[in-house]
């Protein structure tokens, strides 16, 4: 279960409003490699994991991603809060303002709404953890692109650098979890190539 803790994971205090930056940063809220997809991906995949380490890491990284979702939402909020409709329109946020006003809506930078089709829950531990490794790299790459686009705002860059660094740590932990899963699934397997599923009739989960 979840309880709210009334702090962000990392403090955010954006001094200068800038809707233009909000428009691209929102991709890490509800875009294809964003924090909403990350949290749902890990918290859903955890149910299908075969060993204690991978259950724990998906649970705990999935939980941290919820804290990151809140941080990205905070960036978007503080970058747009107090802007007039004209100011939003001038920054290219006219269409967004029409549908969402000053709310924070999970969508990609290109404007399409969050879709669960951008993530996967395969129910296959090796496939899922391998997807997670790629997901962390894609999120890292997205934060680097955002840092390129936000060069003028040190407050924003500080937060984006923090979030980028967490993707690097998560990648490492998922790699360690995948090693553990492979070791467990392959312990009775003589072959180099085996995806670890149970179609052979033996129960690899015990």
């Amino acid at each position: 279960m979840y309880h709210y803790v009334k702090t962000l994971q990392y403090p955010i205090n954006i001094k200068c409003r800038n809707p233009k930056l909000a428009q691209v940063i929102i991709s890490q809220y509800g875009g294809p490699d964003g924090e909403l997809g990350a949290s749902l991906r890990y918290l859903s995949q955890r149910f299908g994991m075969p060993d204690q380490k991978s259950k724990a890491i998906l649970n705990d990284i999935g939980t941290e991603e919820l804290a990151h979702l809140e941080m990205v939402g905070t960036l978007v909020h503080q970058l747009t809060d107090g802007a007039s409709a004209e100011e939003l329109e001038k920054a290219g946020m006219g269409p967004y303002y029409t549908d969402h006003g000053w709310g924070v809506y999970p969508q990609a930078a290109a404007g399409y709404p969050y879709t669960a089709a951008s993530m996967a829950v395969k129910g296959d531990p090796v496939a899922d953890l391998t997807e997670d490794l790629a997901a962390e790299q894609k999120a890292r790459a997205t934060y680097e692109k955002l840092i390129d686009l936000c060069k003028d705002d040190a407050d924003v860059i500080d937060v984006l650098r923090y979030l980028r660094e967490r993707e690097v740590v998560h990648f490492q932990r998922f790699g360690e979890a995948l090693n553990g899963v492979q070791e467990k699934l392959y312990q009775r397997n003589k072959f180099y190539l085996n995806n670890g599923n149970n179609n052979c009739g033996c129960d690899n989960r015990n």
Binding site: H3, Y4, K6, I12, N13, I57, D60, A177, G180
Partner: protein, 89 residues
């Protein structure tokens, strides 16, 4: 011995300490999930966890709730700025 671990700390400094400790605990949790027998990391996790629990209790007594586990005669949960609001930090 100092009975209040946060003595001489202002509200902002105390909150910063709590956030930093929560972060350290979280990062150690991830590390320990995949290295559960690292006794040095377990030791650090114990130390930071204990510290953050006592600092959080102290903060809540002085400045209002950070978690839903608090006691108060008035409903302070809605009084403080929310973490996403500008100026909360």
């Amino acid at each position: 011995m100092n009975s209040c671990p946060c003595q001489n700390m202002g509200k902002k400094e105390l909150l910063n300490q709590i956030m930093a400790l929560n972060f350290a605990v979280n990062d150690l949790v991830l590390y320990l999930d995949t290295h559960p027998t690292d006794s040095k990391a377990i030791c650090m996790h114990n130390e930071y966890s204990e510290k953050v629990v006592s600092l959080t209790a102290e903060y809540q007594k002085l400045y209002g709730p950070l978690t839903i586990n608090f006691t108060s005669d008035t409903w302070d949960w809605i009084d403080q700025p929310w973490p996403w609001e500008r100026g909360a930090y």
